[in-house]
Amino acid sequence: MKVSLWFQKLLNKMIDVRVLDLSSIRDSLKKGDFTSKELVKSYIERIEGSSKLNTYNTTTFEQALDRAEISDGKIKKNEAGPLEGIPIGIKDLFCTQGVKTTASSKILENFIPSYESTVTENLFKSGMIMLGKLSNDEFAMGSSNETSANGAVVNPWRSRNSEKELVPGGSSGGSSAAVAASLCPLATATDTGGSIRQPAAFTGTVGLKPTYGRCSRWGIVAFASSLDQAGPITKTVRDSALALQAMAGYDNKDSTSANIEVENFENYMNSNLNGMSIGIPKEFEELDLSLDIRQNWEEAIQWYKEAGVNIKSINLPHCKYALPAYYIIAPAEASSNLARYDGVKYGKRVPGEDLDSLYKRTRAEGFGDEVKRRILMGTYVLSAGYYDAYYLKAQKVRRLIHEDFLEAFKTVDAILTPTTPTTAFGIGENISDPLKMYSNDILTVPVNLAGLPAISIPSGLDSSGLPMGIQLITNHFDEKSLFKFGRLIEESRVNIEMPTDWWIKK
């Protein structure tokens, strides 16, 4: 059976995409080991067999095959872009011209943008080919991908000897699960409070949140505009560097876009770390972390020590207030941003006898529970009589958190923490307890409030065989140091096998 399957695959030139990553695909396409069309076909076949994971909201296979032919022509004529002919999955929060963009919400179930987001435009210009749109928590609000109107996404990882289905993290859970399951070698994602890094940690993938302002927010469905930032989920640190280079860049359509040079980040893969320094925040040591994650953190510190890095204990005294400050600021911005969904200009409409009831019914039916709760919470903290006590207070605390980090970066090059307090949990386990769900982001949220770049890198497996992630944080626009330091984690950790293909429809 196995031999005949192998033979059949050979005849169809099916490629085993499980063993590939972004940079190896780039090199193979250049060498002519396979064509873009063969590659796209192989991903399509794998996606079709993986419906159980529920990662893609929409697929664009026909377009992808057409684009692949064009890319193959360009490769032959030496006109290829830097990532020519490589497939990509796009989080369903990025507007894609002519392709449904839903934010995994009922209120946008039929929305077809007439324009392209800057980040996807940049990626397509570099030659990448979209396979489809990936699920996320509704409007990126959640830490488990369970709030998607399309239903939960299933993590390709399971505990050893268990069939319990686990969450892939969120809000970029479709992106993290798709990369972990080899349903695309790169997925776009967004991070407002941890939505790239936490799902990456839960799925054994690399998740990068760039500096606020590094990637344009134009054309990305807005959640909390002062915190939202786009970034990649990939299999390796090198792939993350390649992806950032393609996504980033100044954009005059986003007033918060930074006019800062985009370097060749791949140059920082083999850096000597001797004499550099890493800070370990005391306050994070006091958090409620699982035993395995605490041990893994200590191991990682040891790896850096052995590489000649100076390890320093640092203080981030206001970080313990980051989570409550975030849950005032983010809902406040969301309540304002989501006011645009009124059933008039685009999106779902539920008729009413007058305009007011049209608005209220449309928004009641169109938004899910988590989104509604955050809009109400945000409206409350911005309303007259409460604004100073909540919103202004949170913004002042935000400044103190920001200053804590700036102070720390006077003495260290990077900060090292775990990405999450636990590994992936079961579907349905935390969804009815908002505060418990929010606590998932305790290690990632401070970074967004300060606008810093950070990366989550797989650093080992816990005692039940689930992936853990370690987080590196650096100063504004110092993504290159994330890559420098990040490579050592990949080199030092125990080999992380891929998840078994238990979900594949035979």
Binding site: N252, S255, P324, I328, R349, K360, Y380, S383, R398, R399
Partner: protein, 95 residues
């Protein structure tokens, strides 16, 4: 800090979201517990601290105040749930 039923109804109205009776009770409990939790911020001394609305305000870009886009009527109307030629249609607002 707990939030009253009346207050929930008021913010639901401000948010333009209709909510049912059983949802009100659930929201009362959930939002009250979130408000209790965020109250820990009161431990922080923020005397003379400027509120921070954005981590990189010095990057806010300005440009000339000139028209640089337009003629997008059909694009803008293309996703409208109800339109009439070049207008969005809504229930009658003025009697």
């Amino acid at each position: 800090m707990t939030i009253s039923k009346d207050r929930i109804l008021k913010i639901a109205n401000l948010s333009k979201i209709s909510i049912s009776e059983d949802q009100i009770e659930k929201l009362e409990v959930e939002i009250s517990s979130i408000l209790n939790w965020v109250e820990t911020l009161n431990e922080v001394d923020t005397e003379n601290i400027e509120p921070m609305s954005n981590s990189l305000t010095n990057f806010l870009q300005m440009r000339e105040d000139i028209v640089n886009d337009g003629e997008k009527r059909s694009d803008i109307l293309s996703n409208s749930p109800a339109e009439d030629e070049s207008f969005f249609v809504v229930p009658k607002v003025i009697e």
